[in-house]
Symmetry: C2
Subunit: 432 residues, 2 copies
């Protein structure tokens, strides 16, 4: 019955007000027991939060975490060429060992950035799940199902792999791991596969997560082939249930925004990736105004190139204003919500709020940096000025994952060395 | 005749290739004496650069450094409302002491971000110059001349202040401080003031720096009043000499890009500020393709909200691709150039290149972060993944300004405390 008190700091309340309070964590249940003044005496152990802001842990709503291995491997190319010329040839050489090493590197980076939960679509997901179990984060994981370029039977096998993973790993790591069925996108998975496997995923009662409306180029073929906009096609396939979440949602028209609002399916906005691949600007303010749940994701490190939700929040505010042609759009409070409650709701993980009874998933952000001085508005600082390196402590499910910048659940040097070796070997195989 | 060797690291060459080499700094002359293997024995002192990349110090081409006092004070508003409702009323309450405290805070932040040179336009510039002298950076400083809302004689007085500062401070701080004549913009300074004072600035042989074509709203009145685009009007006023540099250049048409190329005047791109104020997207790739010298600036911290050139480089790449609708535009190597040689050339400071005989203005970037692993491409890492907090050491003019994250020329705690006190008092006066 161990309890931990975070003392001397300020906390970010669910309504985004900030006040001075200690936070008492019940490490047995993994939940916040109490928030209030002077909780040190009530705790078995204390952790210093002076000159710091205790925030909900950040939630990364869309990632391919093992792609850290390809960080900086190929930049400055549009999505299609980048995938076909660089990423897919390299990914064809991935081994389960490489994926586990890349995942650990990404988890290390996320813990160091105050991220406590994420959604991930990739391959060899049992290896990613193993890494998540050790690292201590919360995750919504799924095998990325692709049918393009495959015979129908091979595509069915891939979908079966996706279903089996979703079935077997849901609730793993003492409940920290949840799963989803993850068809890659509307253009890379056949109608037949959707028709057969969406009902099977519904039987498992897991959400469905896919890329949708990321580039203009992927909208046209769907309209040509099916005679409707992509999200109308998605709805016809049964893909827009309230628990489902779509990555990107850049090229959505008014009818599709309405459809998202009606169905309650969520969008995970990935501004850095959308900018870096010149995919476009998602209409985030319009989506929010329509009542659509919007989360925030980094996408893979190869198109970002980091996994910091604080960076992503700043990017979201910046590009959201350009998209709306309005400096008041996608304001500081909005992007802090996107990175916490927005993502948590979108991917269906129980996190994002600091209140008694909520999961103790939190980050403690050091406020003493010159770049965070003066302190007129701490929500503004989170949105526009704070960086991953300002995060002092990271706690997930009541467990301390990082203390004073030292990650406790992974050996940082070992993780970096293994990932470097796997990345080097991977690129050698791909270029052989 | 003290010499300092940076040992065990890799260096970023002027052609943006990276190789292993030590750097020998002659602290007497402030210049790089030698670059090559095993220079430790040739030096009086060594500084560790293992697992690090030695880069040119970053150059911030456009700033209002004392505006750190207003960081996070007013966000999420368009330029006009933000200036008239929040920034100008607060600035009206600025004292020379407040400006010096804000400048020191900004200099502290810049040193910690590896910045060694910057251009600054503000008020009480003699106090900014004092802070620069102590902090040890290089700067191009000027008093911001404004005539809008003033009687002509008061505007002339302001211009005289600008001229006097440019005259008296050029070459201060052992030559690290250079000056410029800095009329605020084409719409906030009258034609009469330009006509009288541009020739006087030319007599002093200092560059002219102003804001230009930042928002669409500032183009229309110039076209209405003068019948030509803003940069044609600027040329007619004598403002586009090769040593002159314009901040922003967002809303420039083809004729204006051609004019910049012909006249050799430079543009300092401020992507974060342009996004945050929804001013628009500067056509950076088009400017570069036309042969225009482009630098990179943070603008003031109130519209950014940090002063890191690494953040700014990432922003420039991201929004540059959107502006060009091309993921290949404004590539990693381009933004690293913008942040180093581009800015140095634009603002006329002798920095930005690591080669023997060049000023020893450099930053040493730690490469061991999870977010900088693996190391496929270090130029990509500088552009897309490295953060201010990765900078270990900062050296300017041969002098060590920061060693192992400790700033040696300023007392960080003292600077933060003073700036906080001044910022709090300033806001109280403004809101009284």
């Amino acid at each position: 019955m161990s309890t931990l008190a975070l003392t001397g700091g300020r906390i970010l309340r669910p309504d985004l007000t900030v006040d001075r309070a200690d936070v008492l964590v019940d490490q047995e249940t993994g939940k916040i027991a109490e928030i209030g003044p002077d909780l040190a005496d009530a705790a078995d152990e204390t952790m210093d939060a002076t000159n710091s802001l205790i925030t909900p842990g950040f939630v990364n709503g869309h990632c391919h975490v093992a792609m850290t291995l390809l960080r900086g491997y190929a930049d400055d190319k549009p999505l299609d060429a980048w995938l076909s010329e660089d990423i897919w040839p390299a990914e064809a050489e991935l081994t389960p060992e490489a994926i586990e090493a890349g995942a650990e590197l990404g988890l290390l980076e996320m813990i160091r950035a105050g991220t406590t939960g994420f959604a991930d679509m990739y391959f060899s997901m049992e290896r990613v799940a193993d890494a998540v179990e050790r690292a201590g984060l919360r995750a919504r994981l799924g095998h990325g199902v692709i049918s393009v370029g495959k015979e129908h039977e091979a595509a069915r096998e891939d979908a079966e792999t996706g279903l089996a993973f979703a079935r077997e790993y849901d609730g793993a790591a003492e409940g920290r791991i949840r799963t989803a069925f993850m068809p890659h996108s509307l253009t890379t998975v056949s109608t037949e596969i959707y028709e057969e496997y969406v009902p099977k995923a519904r039987e498992l009662d897991v959400p469905i997560h896919l890329h949708a409306n990321e580039t203009a180029d992927e909208v046209t073929p769907i309209v040509d082939e099916h005679g409707v906009r992509p999200l109308a096609y998605a709805r016809d396939l049964g893909l827009l249930e309230p628990q489902d979440f779509l990555a990107h949602g850049v090229h959505v028209d008014e009818t599709e925004i309405e459809l998202l609002a009606e169905t309650d399916a969520s969008v995970v906005h990935c501004p850095a990736s959308n900018m870096k691949l010149a995919s476009g600007m998602a209409p985030v303010q319009t989506l929010r105004d329509a009542g659509v749940t919007v989360g925030l994701g980094t996408d893979g490190a190869a198109s970002n190139n980091d996994l910091s939700l604080l960076d992503e929040a700043r990017d979201a505010a910046m590009v959201g204003k350009l998209a709306a042609d309005d400096a008041a759009a996608v304001a500081a409070d909005t992007v802090v919500e996107l990175a916490t409650t927005g993502s948590a709701e979108a991917i269906g993980l129980p996190a994002g709020r600091l209140e008694p009874g909520a999961p103790a998933d939190l980050a403690v952000v050091d406020l003493t940096g010159a770049h965070l001085t003066p302190a007129h508005d701490l929500v503004s600082h989170l949105a526009y000025a704070a960086a991953a390196s300002d995060v002092r402590h990271t706690i997930c499910d009541g467990r301390v994952l990082m203390r004073d910048r030292e990650v406790l659940t992974l050996d940082a040097n070992d993780v970096r060395e293994r990932a470097t070796a796997e990345a080097t070997a991977l690129v050698e195989r791909a270029e052989a």
